[in-house]
């Protein structure tokens, strides 16, 4: 579970510190930093797990506009498998050439260094913290993404595995495709690869498919199941098709032909079954877009049920229906006084006014002042 995040000189974050709880509901005005927070978590996953170029995930345009410093700093602390991990990343920017390099990067576990990169030199440590190999690399990528699975790197890979389980999702139905060229183990932030992720689930979590279909039968009238069919003469290419019924007749319809709301519901309910809360974190940015108002709370109830015992959730939304339900979790208010640096603090609601949480938020009363 993520216990602390510190962000400096990234977008609207200057010396920003956030100590999240387990089920976090993020509220705040437009431009208050909620989506930038999600961008940062996704950037870390791409850097540390997928080996993306640091200039790509921390572009120079991500430097705080009113700050003249050229370095960005991110600190992430988490309890993973009963141990306190700490990750510190410092990115150096060359504004003129719009390039970034990693100045330093460190992972510690219970205070002992597992990995350190500083000014071009990687120092590997074994699980107990004693120094191992030392060598030079360029700082354009995180070497953590390249660490091989060996007994001496076990604890470091636990950390990388944790970052891999941090999923950031902001669905964009227009970008979703019902065509899958291969299996993909992770749902893309926009949901664009849903067909490929679903294809992965059919192989890895086939036992959950019936649960997904049963839930969808209730929320999508006429829905029966999903299937992947050959696209015909194109090798491994498959098309995602929904089996539906109407007027006592069964018919198939391409995933792409379903409405925005139907596709969103299919992805959201699949997400409930396809994600194991475990020790990762799910970050959802306005998941309810396109979902009919009567279907929002039932899905949120299922989401809460999924995370009832374990896992960590961050959900951001301005939708009154979502606010009213999720404000009973741990609500946090993002704000940028006078348009300056983003801040976050627990939202406080009045219980005696008779106003709903959304009404209090709309009136600017959820600040406890």
């Amino acid at each position: 579970m993520i216990t602390r995040i510190f962000i400096d000189n990234y977008r609207c974050f200057t010396n920003f510190e956030f100590e999240p709880k387990r089920l976090n509901f993020l509220m705040g005005a437009n431009g208050s930093g909620k989506s930038s927070f999600f961008d940062l978590t996704e950037a870390l996953a791409r850097l540390v797990v997928r080996g993306a170029d640091v200039s790509e995930v921390f572009p120079t345009s991500s430097l705080t506009r009113w700050d003249s410093r050229n370095t960005q700093r991110v600190e992430l602390e988490a309890d993973v498998q009963g141990n306190r991990y700490r990750y510190v990343l410092v990115v150096q920017h060359d504004r003129e050439h719009e390039r970034a390099v990693i100045l330093s990067e460190e992972v510690t576990r219970a205070g002992k260094t597992l990995f350190a990169f500083d000014s071009g030199t990687v120092r590997l440590h074994n699980n107990s913290g004693t120094k191992g190999a030392e060598f030079h690399i360029r700082g354009d990528k995180s070497f953590i993404a390249q660490i091989e699975d060996r007994p001496v790197t076990k604890d470091l890979l636990v950390w990388r595995g944790f970052i891999e389980k941090i999923w950031t999702v902001r669905l964009n139905t227009r970008s979703m495709s019902g065509v899958s060229r291969d299996e993909e183990a992770t749902l893309a932030r926009s949901g664009s690869n849903f067909a490929s992720w679903y294809r992965h689930l059919t192989q890895e979590r086939a036992d959950r498919l019936q649960s997904i279909w049963s839930a969808l039968e209730v929320v999508v009238p006429g829905f029966r199941s999903l299937k992947l069919v050959s696209a015909g003469g194109k090798g491994r290419v498959r098309e995602l098709v929904a089996k539906m019924t109407a007027c006592n007749a069964e018919y198939d319809i391409d995933f792409d032909e379903l409405s925005d709301g139907q596709r969103t519901l299919i992805v959201l309910y699949t997400l409930l079954e396809g994600v194991s809360p475990g020790e990762g974190a799910l970050l959802l940015d306005e998941p309810e877009i396109h979902v009919g108002i009567s279907e929002i709370q039932p899905w949120l109830v299922e989401l809460d049920s999924r995370f009832e015992s374990d896992g960590q959730l961050f959900l951001a939304s301005q939708n009154p229906e979502v606010v009213d339900y999720m404000a009973a979790s741990d609500p946090f208010l993002f704000e940028r006084p006078d348009g300056g640096p983003a801040r976050v603090r627990p939202a406080i609601f009045d219980h005696e006014s008779g106003l709903s949480a959304a009404s209090q938020l709309a009136r600017g009363l959820a600040d406890g002042r």
Partner: protein, 190 residues
């Protein structure tokens, strides 16, 4: 009975998320369709009891306006230091203040009052010994019931709530508020 329960629609006013979750498990166990219930739980931290009390008259009024529909209301809030009867009297008073009649025995309105809090009910249902309705388990300096519950069941709270709901009808409650809560819960199904 089972089919009827699946058709019942309702509102649940709860003072915190744990209480809401327990009611959700209870609805499942008792054969109600959870999707036909809407959950209005006190936002943020602080006294959720006030939230339930303030929301209660509006929901009662709505329920009475839709008398031809099969609707029910569960308003559940902790007894804290007041206890069951005094808390129920507060809810009655909230209705009077809103120019509404207090609830009739025939209305599908349940007002269970876990005392001291929902954790006392959960611990009792789960068979923990020495549970009572006092504020602290033993001495004044001891842990709260909430802390006691979280220490014992925090690692698998969902499992604990499910098990407690499963024992709703079978466990032999030692807490007067729990015994009263069972009677209250039956009101939504009449």
């Amino acid at each position: 009975m089972g089919a009827d329960r699946r058709q019942l629609r309702g509102i649940v006013l709860a003072e915190d998320r744990r209480t809401e979750r327990f009611i959700r498990h209870l609805l499942d166990v008792c054969g109600f369709d959870k999707r036909k219930f809407r959950f209005h739980t006190a936002p943020g931290q602080g006294s959720g009891e006030a939230w339930v009390r303030v929301q209660y008259p509006g929901e009662v009024k709505l329920l009475r306006a839709k008398v031809h529909q099969r609707l029910c209301l569960v308003a559940i809030c902790d007894g804290d230091a007041l206890g069951v009867e005094a808390r129920k009297a507060q809810l009655d008073e909230a209705l009077r203040q809103a120019d509404l009649q207090t609830r009739a025995a025939t209305e599908r309105i349940a007002t269970p009052v876990p005392t001291w809090a929902i954790e006392n009910w959960l611990l009792d249902l789960l068979g923990e010994p020495n549970i009572n309705e006092a504020k602290k388990p033993s001495t004044e300096a001891g842990p709260t019931w909430k802390q006691l519950f979280e220490r014992a069941y925090g690692a698998d709270e969902k499992g604990a709530l499910t098990e407690a709901a499963n024992r709703w009808d079978t466990a032999n409650p030692r807490l007067p508020s729990l015994e009263n809560g069972r009677v209250e819960f039956e009101r939504i199904d009449q």
